[in-house]
Symmetry: C2
Subunit: 201 residues, 2 copies
């Protein structure tokens, strides 16, 4: 395997990405969220850091610097070696950029829209949707970035429907450990973590 | 619930959609595949029915009659009442059309790219990919239709990674039964199967 392993966590709003990213942090040097990178950039530009401004900034960055702009900001935050968890990957453009700089494992966290809506409408973060319409609009925005493609191509799919956070965390950890060890075992270290680079499984 | 329930099965090539669709057939009057509708149309037009021609025809139908063209052909094959399994739904445009004519439950079947490639390259259907490059190209084509959005918004996610077909079939059946019964139990029959219509959960 190459020197860097990037465990890319994706999922729709309210699916439980942060629980999974935190858990996978045990396998990594550091957890870096795509949002952190945008927040950094917002600070550099003297902008507020509420969800709406952040989403607009992420959008603007993509327009200015291409669809993988945020991934590039994240890469600047990483050292040359080690395993990292990248929380909040949103498109295959970003995955492509990450693959250039490390072996990528995509972990998707899934919950049904109904479950996600109920979680988001009760967790009470200021930016969470207040109505079903707002929720659907945010989903559509995420899908517009291409998050569906990342979910569809996940190496590990963690279903977070009726489970406790501990169960989900353990399931994700176990599955990613399996992928990491099978990747390590394969000839010359070429394995699952490599197979997205288009060079054959 | 409305008179028609449409259990829409989606998933990337090699994920195991057909096993799940067949299993869910137990809950339905009939299983109709999106491919069947395209094949019908191919016959009407005097075209061959290999995968390539079928995918091209589906594409052409979408260009001629809009992105939900195949869904509309499927609807013509259904009666006014009853539960149907629709195998091979590929976009949210199709889901929107189905929602107009029934309560929709989206069931996504997921397997990692590595597992799907290994399945497809050993099952030996004439149109299955012969190389990793062909496999990736077909995945990208499917994602181009918007299948990622349908997977991301699934009401039920069935992970088909290390399981036997029987296990997968049973898991899918149990999960869809749960959704159906919770939809039935809710006030006035408005429940999960309705919630995608944008009217609140």
């Amino acid at each position: 395997m190459s020197k860097r392993v990037l465990i890319c966590v994706t999922g729709m709003p309210g699916s439980g990405k942060s629980v999974v990213s935190r858990a996978l942090g045990k396998l990594a040097k550091r957890v870096v969220s795509m949002g952190d990178a945008v927040r950094e950039e917002a600070r550099r530009r003297g902008l507020p850091t509420d969800l709406r401004t952040m989403m607009e900034l992420a959008q603007r960055l993509r327009e200015e610097r291409g669809p993988a702009a945020v991934a590039k900001l994240v890469l600047e935050m990483l050292e040359d070696e080690g395993t990292y968890v990248i929380d909040g990957v949103r498109s295959l453009h970003e995955i492509d950029v990450f693959r250039e700089f490390g072996n990528v494992i995509i972990v998707a966290v899934h919950a049904s829209p109904r479950t996600r809506f109920s979680r988001l409408s009760t967790r009470g973060r200021r930016d969470d949707p207040k109505s079903w319409e707002e929720f659907v609009a945010r989903d559509m925005k995420e899908l517009g970035f291409g998050i569906g493609g990342v979910i569809a191509l996940a190496d590990v799919m963690v279903v977070n429907e009726d489970k406790s956070p501990e169960e989900v965390a353990n399931e994700a950890l176990e599955a990613v450990r399996r992928v990491l060890s099978s990747a390590r075992c394969e000839s010359g270290g070429r394995g699952q973590a490599d197979r997205g680079s288009g060079e054959g499984a």
